[in-house]
């Protein structure tokens, strides 16, 4: 047998055997992400599915399926998307044939469990986590989230999602974070202290609205085309834009079963633009209602995060919309999809140990 293995032993852990694993979680309507202090980061689509029958179980080979795999096998599954506008749906599953034990709450519970498991905590290691929630989530929504998450973590804290983004970026004074998700767009102005209710706004029009608008426009123009909203979402995520000269966006959909190419450029642009007015109005309100001595500072640092921030030309269109206020600097951050989880993790790391002990 050969000798000379050069295994490098695992470095002494910042999450030692005695210490807990600290994680930050961004629980999104469309995607959820986790970042662990052990360096592990995972993201999955926020879908959970249970096999419909024994044949489906044999096909998927699992009792429960998550993320993209659940989407790809959705015809075999009772599929749940447990979050709506960034919070738990708290509704029952489909009535036809659904097991009453399957519900959006159960799906949320399993989704969180799956996320935490994917961060690879050691056996018997405690897990302490910070979870981002929409800026104006109700107390009821937060309590429901605590209820489903407590099975997966030994202690957890909830924080405003845009605040978590700002904290992770160390931009806690003189900035506005605009977190553009699928369920909500959350805005938070930072001025060196914990933001209050007046500093935050949560808009119900976000990525899902863009998808629905896109679907409406395409059905109007191409009534014979066969497509699902999932297909349109993929097109939007790959080619979404609001400005600038772009190549024509062509999509292939079946038409009476026959694959047919369609030009969807104009419809895509119009759909992506449907959030612009609401974002600009919210920014106007947050800036205009702020201390006039510091308004210019706010306009100078408008940060876009979340999946929607990747729409081509979005930053410049928002900047144009603020010209009447004297102009603005608007920028999309690096790693917009992990910004929330990263910021939540940083909060978890900075949180004093005694706070975790008291919550566990």
């Amino acid at each position: 047998m050969t000798e000379g293995s050069t295994f490098v032993p695992e470095p002494s852990s910042y999450a030692s055997d005695e210490g807990a694993l600290l994680v930050g979680i961004d629980l999104g309507t469309s995607r959820s992400a986790i970042a662990g202090v052990n360096g592990i980061r995972k993201m999955i689509e926020s879908y959970v599915g249970w096999p419909k029958d024994p044949v489906a179980l044999r096909h998927v080979k699992k009792n429960i399926v998550f993320g993209t795999e659940a989407l790809e096998n959705r015809l075999s599954l009772w599929l749940f998307r447990p979050l709506e506008r960034g919070v738990l749906k708290q509704s029952l599953g489909e009535e036809t044939g659904a097991d009453p034990n399957m519900s959006d709450n159960e799906a949320a519970r399993e989704l969180i469990r799956h996320l935490v498991h994917s961060a690879e905590p050691r056996r018997d290691q405690k897990v302490y986590g910070v979870i981002g929630v929409p800026a104006q989530a109700s107390v009821k929504s937060k309590q429901a989230l605590i209820d489903v998450a407590k099975d997966s973590m030994d202690a957890m804290m909830l924080v405003s999602q845009p605040f978590a983004v700002a904290y992770g970026l160390s931009m806690l004074d003189g900035s506005v974070v605009v977190d553009i998700g699928a369920g909500t767009i959350d805005l938070c102005r930072m001025h060196g202290t914990m933001p209050g209710e007046d500093d935050q706004m949560s808009l119900p029009v976000a990525g899902d609205c863009v998808d629905r608008r896109f679907e409406e426009l395409l059905r109007e123009r191409y009534p014979e085309a066969q497509f699902t909203i999932t297909m349109l979402k993929k097109i939007k995520e790959s080619h979404g834009f609001v400005t600038g000269e772009v190549e024509r966006v062509k999509a292939t959909f079946p038409s009476a079963g026959k694959p047919t190419e369609y030009d969807v450029t104009e419809e895509l642009k119009t759909a992506c633009e449907c959030v612009l007015n609401d974002v600009n109005d919210a920014l106007h309100e947050l800036i205009a209602s702020f201390d006039p001595e510091f308004q210019e500072k706010l306009r100078g640092n408008i940060i876009l995060s979340g999946g929607g921030s990747q729409t081509v030309g979005l930053a410049s269109r928002i900047k144009q919309g603020l010209e009447d206020l004297g102009g603005a600097n608007v920028h999309a951050i690096e790693e917009p999809l992990y910004a929330g989880a990263n910021g939540a993790l940083r909060l978890a790391v900075d949180m004093p140990e005694e706070y975790w002990q008291r919550l566990s």
Partner: protein, 238 residues
């Protein structure tokens, strides 16, 4: 081949079938048949009648050595690919080589006698001086079944040792590479997760890090808000 001392025939070993030294299509083949096909039976009287006063003897160790040599030569050429196909190739080539070696050491080439009763002793190995016996082989003499069993075991051991060694070695290398890659990815992810990423185009009045005191207040407020949530939390699901 007749049973010897009540022992069962060796289990068929997965090898290429050899018939008169020629390779057959792959499939399950009896080692004993492979030996049969490349050797012939003869009694000592026959040997004597044919003018053979001395015969070549293959003792147990020699046969095992031949098999090991065959396997080593067959496996020496292996440099890559440990797939099942390769394993079958190794087995095939091992037996081919063994057959060739056996041919080189054939005792007597004579036509097999179909009416001959199966003998259980020294046809393949044994001192010519001893008269043929139907009872247990003499000390130092291997019965045919025992011979076949030894050959099967030797080939099996050699292949397992060789392949196992290779497989273990490759497994360890893959594990090392995978482990190294995972560590690098984790380290990179950790760096990204924990580093501050100030906006790359800050203006003059850029947002700033909070002071230690401010940070303490922020964290305390978050903690207190969460305590309040616990205080008014209801346990049953909505």
């Amino acid at each position: 081949m007749a049973e010897t001392n009540g022992r069962a025939k060796p289990t068929a070993f997965k090898l290429v079938r050899m018939v008169n030294g020629k390779r057959q299509e792959p499939g399950e083949v009896d080692v004993d048949r492979a030996i049969d096909d490349s050797s012939s039976r003869a009694t000592l009287e026959d040997l004597g009648r044919r003018g053979h006063s001395t015969v070549r003897i293959l003792d147990r160790e020699k046969i095992a050595g031949l098999v090991r040599q065959a396997v080593r030569e067959a496996t020496a050429a292996r440099t890559e690919s440990l797939l099942e196909d390769e394993r079958r190739k190794i087995e095939k080539e091992s037996l081919e080589r063994f057959g060739e070696l056996l041919d080189e050491h054939k005792q007597v080439t004579s036509a097999p006698r179909e009416d001959e009763e199966p003998q259980d002793t020294q046809e393949a190995a044994g001192p010519a001086a001893h008269p043929p016996r139907r009872s247990a082989p003499a000390p130092g003499v291997m019965g045919v079944d025992e011979l076949v069993g030894t050959i099967s075991e030797t080939i099996r051991t050699e292949l397992t040792a060789s392949d196992g060694g290779w497989l273990d070695d490759v497994d360890r290398r893959i594990e090392r590479l995978t482990d190294g890659l995972e560590r690098a990815e984790k380290a990179l992810a950790k760096l990204k997760a924990l580093r501050a990423t100030p906006n790359h185009a800050r203006g003059e009045d850029a947002a700033r890090e909070p002071s230690a005191e401010q940070q303490e207040l922020i964290l305390e407020k978050i903690f207190e808000e969460n305590l309040q949530l616990r205080g008014t939390a209801t346990s049953p699901e909505n």
